[in-house]
Symmetry: C2
Subunit: 213 residues, 2 copies
């Protein structure tokens, strides 16, 4: 069984949000497993890990929202929603957002979808939530980010001008990779010369969390 | 509610197949709603319309396979699997395929995934099938087709050299569109001059099914 076959499934990149009544604030997380199931009425399925704080908030509140991220999403948004816990930080603080039908959605999104929870399917690690679409609209006229784009252009080194990761015709140089989110440092300043308060642009951890490879 | 927001969800394009015991042959259909749910053990969710012949075959056989279509998939494969019924035609006849763990998968695929049905979620029009991955492998080293690519490049007029659908600086010309699958004729020969046995390259219907717009 070659599980690399699963890497060729195509996804988008989304912020799935819900109201967190225990902390009296909106919360959310990054998800790629979102798909439309029915058209009349429109319904959406989204898969969220049990360990994710947003999972319990969807269960408790009975509603969730999806913000469709564009390619030009700033990495810090993915770092905030994808690599930090909504139980300990206010996910939407400082992030441009609006409240639609009582749920927080990102302003810098291709569009948003508000869903009322109607059913769910439990698996060993994830819940597949099914929701009826109760509201939705388009926002920015931008290309939606695909998960493949995120992996190639944002998380890893951009392949646009560098089809091979390390040019083997030149002496190998150390590659610094974030041990939390996998981001590979790609700046012009040598990594060792970066200021000590440098933080990972994706997940926000300290410079010390980068490992040379 | 502006349902155009749903158009920005990202998907791939797949052939989902199952054994059809009533007709003693393999069958399958096109699906875009496929996503990985868990990683250990790996599981996959796929959404299939109740009216689709493959839906009943998955229910009866308890197994399904996913062939991940590459961008270079020939349109006739999408026409065969996406616009004709497996109850009346042998879907895999003449299409290069292999049998993996008792299920038919396309040879011209980025990879395949074999799943054992473990659970399902019923909606008004579709079944969301959940399957544990029992086998999978990569095949062609090609870019997987996204649903956006299918819509822009295959189903509609290719936008590669024609960012606007009709150049308004030249006199408008008739556009011929397949009334079954939406394919827009884009050949060099004027549509009216095509032979009478011309068939839609996507869904295979006769020339008479094209309407001028």
């Amino acid at each position: 069984m070659n599980l690399k076959a699963l890497f060729d499934l195509s996804y988008g990149v989304y912020v799935v949000s819900a109201f967190d009544s225990a902390n009296a604030r909106h919360t959310g997380c990054i998800a790629n497993s979102v798909m439309q199931i029915t058209s009349q009425p429109a319904s959406i399925a989204v898969s969220i890990n049990h360990d994710n704080h947003t999972n319990g908030c969807i269960n408790t509140s009975g509603y969730f929202a999806i913000s469709i991220l564009p390619e030009k999403t700033v990495p810090s948004v993915i770092g905030r929603f994808g690599f930090q816990s909504g139980d300990s930080i206010a996910k939407f603080e400082g992030i441009p957002h609006s409240i639609k039908d009582g749920l927080a959605v990102l302003d810098n999104a291709c569009g948003y979808i508000i869903c009322k929870l109607t059913d769910k399917l439990e698996t060993s690690t994830h819940t597949v939530f099914l929701g009826e679409v109760t509201g939705c609209d388009t926002l920015l006229s931008e290309s939606p980010m695909t998960y493949a784009y995120y992996h190639k252009v944002i998380k890893g080194k951009s392949p646009k001008n560098a089809p091979t990761y390390i040019d083997e015709s030149v002496p190998a140089q150390k590659v610094y990779k974030c041990s939390v989110c996998g981001y590979v440092y790609d700046g012009d300043i040598p990594f060792d010369s970066l200021p000590e308060d440098y933080k990972c642009p994706i997940c926000g951890v300290d410079k010390s969390m980068f490992k040379a490879e």
